[in-house]
């Protein structure tokens, strides 16, 4: 912890701003429900799409609920569900990719074709079927989002690993008698972590998109709760009036995703910048 703080102190301004954004959202996601001034589903305003005021900091939404409170609750879903699914997808995809690359032959063939099969199933239809069968729940949503983005991550990770596995230092490790697991962990993975992180940032944005799409179909986070994406979606009619109810969550998504991607970019090794 101490090391990461001192690391931040010496980092360029953009990195510190990005880290600030991401830290801010993590705090909000954890502490949001406790600091929210109103309950998440309460109709507290007579007016709909009202402007900024002392009582409703970010105005009210299309049903007269407090946007600020809903945003604080929504951050939790987007941050944990979105980041969680993106991380899960990246872990599964990369593990499979390393396994396929270092085993080669039949193993590679089977995993790759399985991934091709998965990629050919439309993600929304798959989600529809799974939610219909199991009922909507947060773990299921996490699983669906992760499953959808595993093949994409697998493809990228496999391409990276294939290039690395052909290099001399991997041959040196094989000639040393290292096991596949050790080669994957010590030799290949550290050299592909940065492009994978960039990929993770991209997938995170896609997951937010997918989640809001699912919410629109009534399959996502169930009302009265909503993630940031669904907040934008449900208040879409306020767009013509320029209501803060739609601008605030949209801005929130932008800040979160841009912050995440900036932070990931800043993690690149110095000599590759």
């Amino acid at each position: 912890m101490k090391r990461s703080i001192s690391l931040l102190a010496g980092a360029p301004l953009a990195t510190r701003i990005a880290a600030g954004f991401v830290g801010f959202w993590l705090v909000l996601a954890v502490a949001g429900p406790w600091v929210a001034p109103h309950p998440v589903g309460a109709f507290v305003d007579q007016d709909v799409f009202s402007g900024l005021s002392a009582r409703f900091w970010l105005g009210s939404d299309y049903l007269g609920r407090d946007v600020f409170s809903r945003l604080l609750y929504g951050a939790r879903y987007t941050v944990f569900l979105g980041l969680g699914a993106a991380l899960l997808a990246a872990c599964c995809g990369t593990t499979l990719a390393l396994w396929a690359t270092l085993s080669g032959g039949m193993v590679d063939e089977i995993i790759s074709r399985a991934m091709d099969t998965l990629i050919s199933i439309p993600s929304k239809i798959l989600a529809l079927v799974l939610v219909a069968a199991c009922g909507s729940s947060l773990p299921l949503l996490l699983l669906i989002c992760a499953l959808t983005y595993v093949p994409g991550n697998f493809r990228i990770a496999r391409a990276l690993a294939m290039n690395l596995a052909a290099l001399d230092f991997v041959a040196a490790a094989r000639a040393r008698g290292e096991r596949k697991f050790a080669i994957a962990l010590h030799e290949v993975l550290p050299n592909m972590i940065h492009p994978l992180l960039a990929d993770l940032g991209l997938r995170f944005v896609f997951v937010v998109l997918l989640l809001s799409g699912l919410s629109f179909l009534g399959l996502g986070v169930q009302p009265p709760y909503a993630d940031l994406g669904s907040l934008v979606r449900e208040n879409i009619s306020g767009l013509t009036e320029g209501a803060p109810a739609i601008l605030a969550p949209a801005l929130a998504i932008a800040v979160l995703t841009v912050g995440t991607n900036l932070l990931i970019d800043a993690l690149k090794p110095e000599d590759k910048r």
Binding site: D168, F169, A171, A172, A175, G177, E178, N191
Partner: protein, 590 residues
């Protein structure tokens, strides 16, 4: 004497405020060849590129004047320079393979400068190109232009690049290490062609050229004048003969009296072999009846005693590196066996024991790719210690420090990432990693080929010391015949994957050889400027016939009716064994 054709005075190229080369001045007369010589990083390429008004890595020409045939180069805009480049100043790069577009035919690329600068019609340019192909002694000059770059050999591609440069009859040709990437035998051929073509250029008046090289012996063949660069400064410039025979500067004297490796002490008596290779055949593709689809090595055999050193030489593609990979287990052999201390080593990696892995260590050719760029020196050296010896913590740290000391690396590099090390330091880490296993057999695959002469010599003497102190048996793969004959007690010569000669050092340093070894030895350039003219151009007739002597198509001593009809016998005598119809023994020959 007329005004010099090329005149550079007070040239300084800088990145920011840091000068890369400073205060360079020289002049070249029309038709002369000036050689720029120095180590990597001495600024020789930077100087040569500045003549085209080009600077790499955000550098700029900070001061000085450059005149090429009356044209002012410095201070010109990019547009004005593009009108000059390729038209009046041509450039021949080190790697022709990287300089050609693989998806276009050679002819289209060779005539491109003439077409871009609108000085010839396509027909004229093609006719001129064919003339140049003929002058450069390329095979089938009329049709070679229709091929793609991958369909010709490396030496031919280098010559085609020369044709591309010479097609506009430029005022100045810059040759940037044009033969460094080639085999010695190919180098002879290419140098001969370059020399003839440069003289033939400009309607027989000869081209003015700048020849950039690190090899003084090559330069001796080509240059009229030599300029020696050291750390961005010109230390000596003068007529080639004076620089070669009576160098004034101390650094030039070091270069001229090149440090020849001191012959190593023999490893004592004929101890039991620690590594034996018997009838080894290996290659790529599916193995059918013990023969791989693409055989690389055929029937290789040798013995290596404990503490002994075996040199393996041959051109690129002769299977030297493949042999190291087979012994290390990275490529399973199709036939034959590798014996370690008398017991057979399993051909496949999966079947080898940890101790077998430990005993045989491979040092890779290119330390840039052989060391994981994500790791620090400590992590790279600690891994084999933990893997083979179970050392961790303070014990491992102590051993890592010892290894750094052993390979003469400064202790402060320990926590540096390998990307921040110099080429020589990387190669030492590469070596230290192999030594961490405490091996019995060290396979060194071209460990000095990517390094400067001076750094390479230091690495070689280090390996030699380690061999003597630790009693390591060393297989030394190299194309540097001087180094191999000095360091190794036995030398194995591979041609096309077939061992054609196995000689003791005394025999190898003698005068009687297999014709291929003779060719390799005679292809090494010497400081004598007449060497190139007196050396025979390589010959090539027909193709290799399976079963017959593989070298027969290139052999100067082949006997018609015998060598192209009967397989070559394995003969022995006078400390050598070779595969040839000629006999190695002088007595028998008489």
């Amino acid at each position: 004497m007329s005004a010099p054709h090329i005149e550079v005075s007070g040239l300084t190229v800088a990145v920011g405020d840091v000068p890369i080369v400073s205060d360079i001045s020289f002049a070249v007369q029309r038709g002369e060849v000036l050689a720029l010589i120095g180590e990597s990083g001495s600024g020789k390429s930077t100087t040569a590129l500045a003549l085209m008004g080009w600077c790499r890595h955000g550098g700029r020409i900070a001061s000085g004047t450059i005149r090429v045939g009356g044209m002012v180069i410095e201070g010109k805009s990019e547009e004005e320079l593009s009108a000059i480049r390729g038209r009046h100043i041509a450039y021949i790069a080190q790697s022709a393979a990287a300089a050609f577009n693989p998806s276009r035919r050679i002819m289209a690329q060779v005539i491109e400068p003439a077409i871009i600068h609108r000085i010839m019609t396509r027909q004229e340019a093609e006719a001129k190109a064919v003339d140049l192909f003929r002058a450069l002694a390329l095979p089938s000059p009329e049709t070679i232009g229709d091929r793609y770059p991958h369909q010709v050999s490396g030496g031919q591609l280098q010559r085609l690049m020369a044709a591309m440069a010479l097609i506009t009859d430029p005022e100045l040709v810059i040759l940037d290490e044009p033969t460094t990437a080639l085999d010695v035998t190919t180098q002879v051929e290419v140098l001969k062609c370059f020399k003839a073509a440069l003289a033939h250029c400009n309607h027989g008046r000869g081209a003015t050229a700048i020849y950039v090289s690190h090899d003084l012996a090559v330069v001796a063949q080509m240059a009229d004048r030599i300029a020696v660069l050291l750390k961005g400064r010109l230390v000596e410039e003068g007529p080639a003969e004076q620089v070669l025979t009576a160098p004034r500067d101390a650094y030039t004297q070091v270069l001229v009296n090149a440090p020849h490796p001191v012959p190593a002490a023999p490893a004592g008596d004929d101890a039991a072999p620690v590594l034996s290779v018997r009838g080894l055949t290996a290659g790529y593709g599916r193995v059918i009846d013990g023969m791989p689809q693409i055989p690389v090595l055929r029937d290789v055999a040798f013995d290596l005693p404990a503490g002994g050193a075996l040199g393996i030489i041959g051109e690129s593609g002769s299977g030297k590196s493949t042999l190291a990979r087979v012994i290390a287990g990275l490529l399973p052999a199709a036939q034959g066996e590798v014996l370690l201390n008398g017991s057979a080593l399993p051909p496949r990696l999966e079947d080898r024991s940890l101790d077998q892995f430990r005993t045989v260590q491979l040092v890779f050719q290119n330390a840039d790719t052989a060391l994981n760029p994500a790791h620090s020196v400590r992590r790279i050296l600690a891994r084999p210690l933990q893997h083979y010896h179970g050392l961790t913590g303070a014990a491992a740290d102590r051993r890592v420090a010892e290894l750094l000391d052993l390979t003469r690396l400064p202790a402060e590099v320990i926590d540096r990432p390998v990307t921040k090390l110099s080429g020589g330091q990387k190669q030492r880490v590469n070596l230290a990693r192999a030594l961490a296993a405490e091996p019995k057999v060290l396979l060194c695959d071209e460990v000095t080929s990517a390094l400067d002469t001076v750094v390479g010599a230091a690495i070689l003497s280090l390996i030699e010391d380690l061999r003597r102190d630790l009693g390591l048996a060393t297989v030394f793969i190299s194309h540097d015949i001087h180094a191999v004959s000095a360091l190794c007690e036995k030398v194995l010569v591979l041609y096309g994957g077939t061992p054609v000669e196995l000689a003791t050092r005394a025999a190898f340093n003698g005068s009687r050889h297999h014709p291929y070894t003779s060719l390799l030895k005679s292809s090494l350039p010497t400081m004598d400027p007449r060497w190139l003219d007196t050396t025979r151009a390589p010959i090539l007739r027909g193709f290799r016939v399976e079963g017959l002597c593989p070298f027969q198509p290139r052999c100067a001593e082949a006997v018609p009716g015998l060598c192209d009809a009967v397989p070559a016998p394995l003969r022995e005598g006078d400390g050598m064994r070779w595969l040839c119809h000629h006999s190695p023994s002088i007595k028998e020959q008489a």
